[in-house]
């Protein structure tokens, strides 16, 4: 089975529409960021407190917001997680000292609004292992369930594991569900029922980042990426020619800008995991570009009389099968992650889905054209110096087929 056999598309001949399209997309991305007053950073980078809460039923967002705003100063955001019963509550942090206060306040508000704080019972869905063990120890003994400390710890651990694994995922709605846990007898279940209640929510995740750390993390991630790009530029310049390095790095910038432009357009937050995804896409795009460059270098060895454009076109066509195969397969894994990967991986997989499309495109339509345009320019420039060039050499395609590129790339061949 074969998708493409000896294709002969003129990719480089139509480079200008694509270069313009890329410029438009890049500018649109930047414009979207500028218009929205900068990127929407996640709490990793801007600082703040964030709590992910899962509810048993569709959460009453307005009720949560109004309850919180009575207790906590500053901006409060309450977002529903793409149709699920999960809610992300975000508050601002002006200084590090607020870290503790906000966490406690958020938890308290949730308990008073949705729990049974007056009942004197323990909230089973939000109890820690120690709390649950301490709560059950005496009542179990009183109820005549013989149990040593080890057995008690085991029971509590099993109960919690049961509660935490999917499909419960942290929430049970009925104590009878727990009867399937090994070792839970009706007598034990009765004790649990007496001592605990089931609140309709579970706090799944709390993150608090001081504002200063946020800015620091952001700067470091950006700096590390820039250094990495510079490193790659030097390596490619060493293996090929400097303009190839530059072309590849510009293509990476192009991909990154368009992807974060899409994040801005869709109002998605840039978090630390998104940065990991952006790094992945830079690596991916770079890989794609190098495969094509490598083929160009190889072709240059035995196509000395052809124009660079012909050589490049041939290289892109030769690698087309592999480009489509690899991109397609990688895209499959990423789309699987996007669909089934769950909310935590959502931003991450979104960045990769965009990144793979843009990255594949940029290797063909951005990186190679940059090298070509530069060589054509250098070519004309050199020719003009010794003797006036023929007027026909205005566009590269009309160039005499016999003239090799002036700044001969063959010298970079190793």
């Amino acid at each position: 089975m074969q998708l493409f056999k000896n294709t002969d598309f003129d990719f480089l001949g139509k480079k200008w529409p694509f270069i313009i399209a890329s410029l438009v997309l890049t500018v649109a991305g930047l414009a979207s960021i500028a218009m929205k007053g900068g990127l929407k950073y996640g709490i990793d980078f801007k600082g703040g407190a964030q709590m992910t809460v899962k509810f048993a039923t569709p959460p009453p967002i307005d009720k949560i917001r109004s309850a919180l705003s009575q207790k906590i100063k500053g901006d409060i955001s309450v977002q529903n997680f793409q149709g699920s019963n999960e809610v992300i509550i975000g508050t601002e942090l002006e200084e590090e000292r607020q870290l503790n206060i906000n966490r406690q306040a958020m938890a308290d508000v949730l308990t008073t609004t949705f729990g049974q704080p007056g009942s004197g019972k323990l909230d089973f869905n939000n109890a820690s292992k120690d709390e649950l063990a301490a709560r059950l120890r005496d009542p179990l003994a009183k109820a005549g369930v013989p149990m040593n400390e080890q057995q008690l710890q085991k029971l509590v651990e099993d109960l919690q594991n049961f509660r935490n694994t999917p499909p419960r995922s942290g929430l049970i709605t009925d104590f009878n569900q727990a009867s399937s846990v090994p070792g839970v007898t009706p007598a034990i279940l009765n004790v649990i029922r007496q001592e605990c209640y089931l609140s309709p929510f579970n706090i799944r995740n709390v993150e608090m980042v001081g504002p200063r750390v946020g800015a620091e993390l952001r700067n470091k991630a950006v700096l590390a990426t820039l250094y990495a790009l510079a490193g790659m530029l030097v390596y490619i310049a060493f293996r090929f020619e400097w303009i190839y390095g530059l072309g590849a790095v510009i293509a990476c910038f192009h991909d990154t800008i368009i992807t974060i432009g899409l994040f801005s357009l869709f109002n998605k937050e840039i978090s630390m995991t998104v940065i990991a995804a952006l790094l992945t896409l830079v690596g991916y795009s770079m890989n794609d570009t190098i495969v094509i460059f490598d083929r160009i270098r190889e072709n240059l060895k035995f196509m000395r009389r052809e124009s660079l454009e012909t050589v490049m076109n041939k290289a892109v066509n030769q690698t087309l099968s592999r480009t489509i195969m690899t991109s397609g397969l990688t895209f499959l894994t990423v789309i699987a992650l996007f669909i089934w990967g769950g909310p935590v991986l959502h931003g991450f997989s979104f960045a990769l889905v965009c990144g793979i499309i843009v990255g594949t495109y940029s290797s063909v339509f951005v990186a190679s054209p940059i090298v070509l345009v530069w060589h054509n320019y250098a070519d004309r420039h050199k020719k003009r110096a010794p003797s006036p060039p023929p007027a026909a050499a205005a566009t590269s395609r009309k160039k005499a087929p016999g003239s090799p590129p002036a700044a001969s790339p063959t010298k970079a061949v190793k």
Binding site: L99, P166, T280, Y284, M286, I290, L329, A336
Partner: protein
């Protein structure tokens, strides 16, 4: 070729066996296997649930404390040498960045005693640099090298102390380590697997952490203002105000005027344990180090009848009157409950923190979220891999099997490396794995497409396979080296998650060169063995 094949096969078998042992060890039963797996492939906090705290050590506290001790010693030394002075004081910077600006100002040294004063400083205070401001006033600053050493030492002692305190909780595998660059950030990372509400831990680590025993000058007062008004609204020299921790009683706020420099600090504590006095009231008994005991003895002897305050992070825990000379052991009375007594002795025993701390970051992932992430990530991974396997097999037929085997082996090697290096698998690490799989697929595709091209050009099967591998080799080297170069930079300049990504990726790439090129090639050699004239290759 037969011998070559044998050697290759041996290499592959050895690697595979080593990897499998690395991942699951030598299991004797199913449960064993599962346990070994869990021990070897350690998951990060974002996947298994737990808390992650980043603290910043307030190193300026340590520098100020050092300056306080020097001031005390200096006053004694000057007295001994009969040098008079008008005032000895220091500034009070509050921010970590300003730790280097701590400065002692000495005013009013008579011009006639300048040389005696200078000799004293040069001989006995070698860690400090003296600068004359005019003929009678001087300033003292710590030498830069000493500052660096002191700050480093402070962070190290802080890490030690926090570890001690956390270890008393009996958690599984807590980790306390330096975070960020050592020289200028003074950050500590505390990781507590399985703890989803770090409140108790934070209580124990204590924002209330600097322990001192101070001399009480005056008090109690009902408020800060009341205390100030006794002195015309200005705090007397070398004193500070502190509030008594509320005891739940009805007496209201109690403020005391204390001497600014402590008699002893947490550094001088050797041991402490909870106890009850003759009226069954809770107290904490403590023992002092030799040096601390000597100082405490001298002080208490001179100050019988005066009061002392035990101060934890600027709040007074208890105030007691000195009954007699106390040498190396004493007790803190007036504690409210058994728990308070136990906690206080725990603070004292594990040494007080040499400097205060600020929390910069706190993240806790509940175990249910971690379980969901793993479950969902696993599901997505399986679907993704399955799709890749099917497409590869359909598109490349028998050669597809090579690719699939190479891919599986790559994953095994990656997991084994994580186990051998004691690395931790985190979400960004999984990102690295995805890129690795992408590149592994790519290497195979590159090679296969190349072989197809050569076949199309009319080459014989064996020659086409040779040429395919040969020509794809440099492309694979270039793509892999470029990515590794970028990983090196990410590792050097990045932090936390970015580093995790880089490490997994480098391991994956190295594994990939082995599986996609060496292993896949070996399978081809095995297939073509003895069939030089083979006309068709299933690719």
């Amino acid at each position: 070729m037969g011998k070559n094949l044998k050697a290759r096969a041996i290499v592959i078998v050895v690697v595979v066996v080593a990897c499998i042992i690395g991942i699951v060890g030598f299991p004797k039963s199913g449960a064993d296997l599962q346990r070994n797996w869990q021990n070897n492939i350690r998951l990060g906090l974002d996947l298994k649930g737990g808390s992650h705290l980043v603290l910043q050590v307030q190193v300026q506290d340590a520098v100020k404390a050092e300056a306080d001790q020097v001031m005390e010693r200096l006053k004694e030394d000057l007295k001994k040498q009969n040098v008079s002075w008008a005032s000895i004081d220091r500034n009070d910077p509050q921010r970590v960045e300003d730790a280097d600006s701590v400065e002692i100002t000495i005013k009013g040294i008579p011009a006639t005693q300048t040389s005696a004063f200078r000799t004293l400083i040069n001989e006995k205070y070698t860690d400090w640099v003296l600068t004359a401001q005019n003929s009678t006033d001087y300033s003292l600053r710590m030498k830069p090298s000493e500052l660096v050493a002191l700050k480093r030492d402070t962070v190290e002692r802080e890490i030690q102390t926090i570890s001690n305190r956390i270890n008393q909780l009996g958690l599984t595998e807590p980790s306390v380590q330096q975070y960020g660059r050592a020289g200028d950030q003074y950050q500590i990372l505390v990781q507590l697997p399985g703890v989803d509400d770090p409140a108790r831990v934070k209580e124990l680590i204590g924002t209330t952490a600097v322990l001192e025993i101070d001399e009480v000058k005056e008090g109690p007062f009902a408020s800060r203002e009341a205390a100030m008004s006794q002195h015309g609204g200005i705090l007397p020299l070398n004193t500070k105000l502190a509030k008594m921790l509320p005891r739940g009683g009805s007496e209201g706020d109690q403020w005391y005027l204390l001497a600014k420099s402590p008699v002893i600090t947490g550094r001088d504590m050797r041991n402490a344990r909870p106890g009850q006095d003759e009226f069954r009231k809770w107290e904490t008994n403590f023992t002092l180090s030799q040096d601390g005991g000597k100082r405490f003895g001298t002080f208490t002897e001179k100050n019988v009848g005066n009061r002392l305050a035990v101060v934890l992070d600027n709040s007074i825990v208890s105030v007691a009157t000195i009954q007699s000379r106390i040498e190396d052991s004493g007790r803190i009375t007036g504690l409210g409950s058994e728990e308070e007594s136990v906690d206080l002795s725990r603070y004292l025993r594990s040494g007080s923190l040499p400097a205060g701390i600020n929390y910069l970051e706190e993240r806790s992932v509940g175990p249910s979220l971690g379980a969901d992430s793993i479950h969902e990530g696993f599901l997505a991974g399986i679907f993704g891999l399955l799709a890749v396997v099917i497409v590869m097999l359909v598109y490349y037929k028998r050669a597809g099997i090579n690719a699939v085997l190479a891919l599986l082996l790559n994953t095994v090697v990656l997991l084994a490396a994580i186990s051998y290096f004691h690395a931790v698998l985190t979400l960004p690490g999984i990102a690295g794995i995805i890129l690795t799989i992408g590149m592994a697929v790519d290497s195979n595709v590159l090679i296969f497409e190349r072989i197809r091209e050569e076949l199309r050009a009319g080459k014989a099967v064996v020659a086409a396979v040779d040429a395919g591998f040969g020509k794809a080799w440099w492309t694979i080297v270039d793509t892999h080296v470029t990515t590794m170069v970028s990983c090196a930079f990410l590792f050097l300049f990045g932090e936390g998650p970015v580093r995790g990504f880089a490490v997994t990726l480098v391991i994956g790439l190295a594994a990939n060169v082995f599986t996609a090129v060496f292993v896949s090639r070996t399978i081809f050699i095995w297939e073509l063995q003895g069939r030089r004239q083979m006309q068709e290759l299933s690719i």
